[in-house]
Subunit: 231 residues, 2 copies
Amino acid sequence: MKEFEKLQGTIKYSFKNIELLRQALTHRSYLNEHPDFKLGHNERLEFLGDAVLEIIVTEHLFNSFPQTPEGDLTDWRASLVNAKMLASIAKDLMIEENLYLSRGEEKDDNSKARQYILANAMEALIGAIYLDGGLEGAKTFIHNFVISHLEHILANHLYLDPKSRFQEKAQELTGITPHYKVISENGPDHEKIFEVGLYLNEDLIAIGRGSSKQEAQVAAAAQGLINKEWK
Amino acid sequence: MKEFEKLQGTIKYSFKNIELLRQALTHRSYLNEHPDFKLGHNERLEFLGDAVLEIIVTEHLFNSFPQTPEGDLTDWRASLVNAKMLASIAKDLMIEENLYLSRGEEKDDNSKARQYILANAMEALIGAIYLDGGLEGAKTFIHNFVISHLEHILANHLYLDPKSRFQEKAQELTGITPHYKVISENGPDHEKIFEVGLYLNEDLIAIGRGSSKQEAQVAAAAQGLINKEWK
């Protein structure tokens, strides 16, 4: 039995219909092992919650920044509403411990797949709150746990991709424009691995790997921000 | 001067603040030629309207089809909310005649660019109605002019891509599974043009062109639906 009382304290929302909460936490893999489970999985709630999240974040940005061009608002929104961010919020809210998963999925707790399961459960939870508590309920939840990250994102320019962020920091703190060099290319054409170095002048700051030069550069920049403690 | 009275009759919505309507119809190109125009262009309204359209269509599908899996609902939504569909609705609503465009953009009335301008103006109009008339105003407009197309889309399986639709129709009406053959490949590697034939048994039904085999197949299937009058 999941501890729904504690969970509802953490998310600061009490369900009138607790089955909606249970359904939001039910991954499709669980149903394979429990064919007699009465509720469906959470994918329809996710479909709804995704759109609810989008309109509430969009309206908040539109109203709060009346002079900001649409392109910037779009970048800021993408930095709030993405799988990585939503999965991290889900972990903070103890959603992970409360998921209904198959035993196979339960073991695999550090994968990309888990990140998507968590992000989708967050959206499903928003859908469930919307059905249970209307737009106002969903708005309060999203302000408390999603939009609350906006200040930090804006202050630290986290809406920029790693390459732009590294370049910005490098120019601001060292006056040097970073550059990238391919160190090695391995493997056959359709599955090449590129290794790229990120440099400030002659100093190698970080190495990134990826299946394209661009991907390797982004990985190098992300590692560079960590190595330089410019996070 | 644009005929806003007639336009408001067509869209079945009367603005309290007519400047919102004017802004929704203002493309960024117009501002270059009219630097003294007081309102901004419509991109922020489009940012808002896109999310309003999404939640209203999503909620309608969620509520109207309680047994339908999320994947199907996503396909149906994509067939209602896409640039081609929104541009076609915009034309029906005489939005094209009422756009504020630069003279250059005005001439170029049959391009892909015009399709995006029209689709974006539709979204901006939805944003403007939302600001002017709230969620209820936007809901009425979206039901009248967007969701009203759903029945036709579902009845004719227009949510399927052309290849799936051609295959479905061919199997239903002829019992034959269509196949595709590359007829020619021309041009250098980075800008190849593929020409693909769509066949039922030995009969060539249609030819499609594209920058990949997949793109050429889709074009052939779309043409095949027209040639067979299976639209």
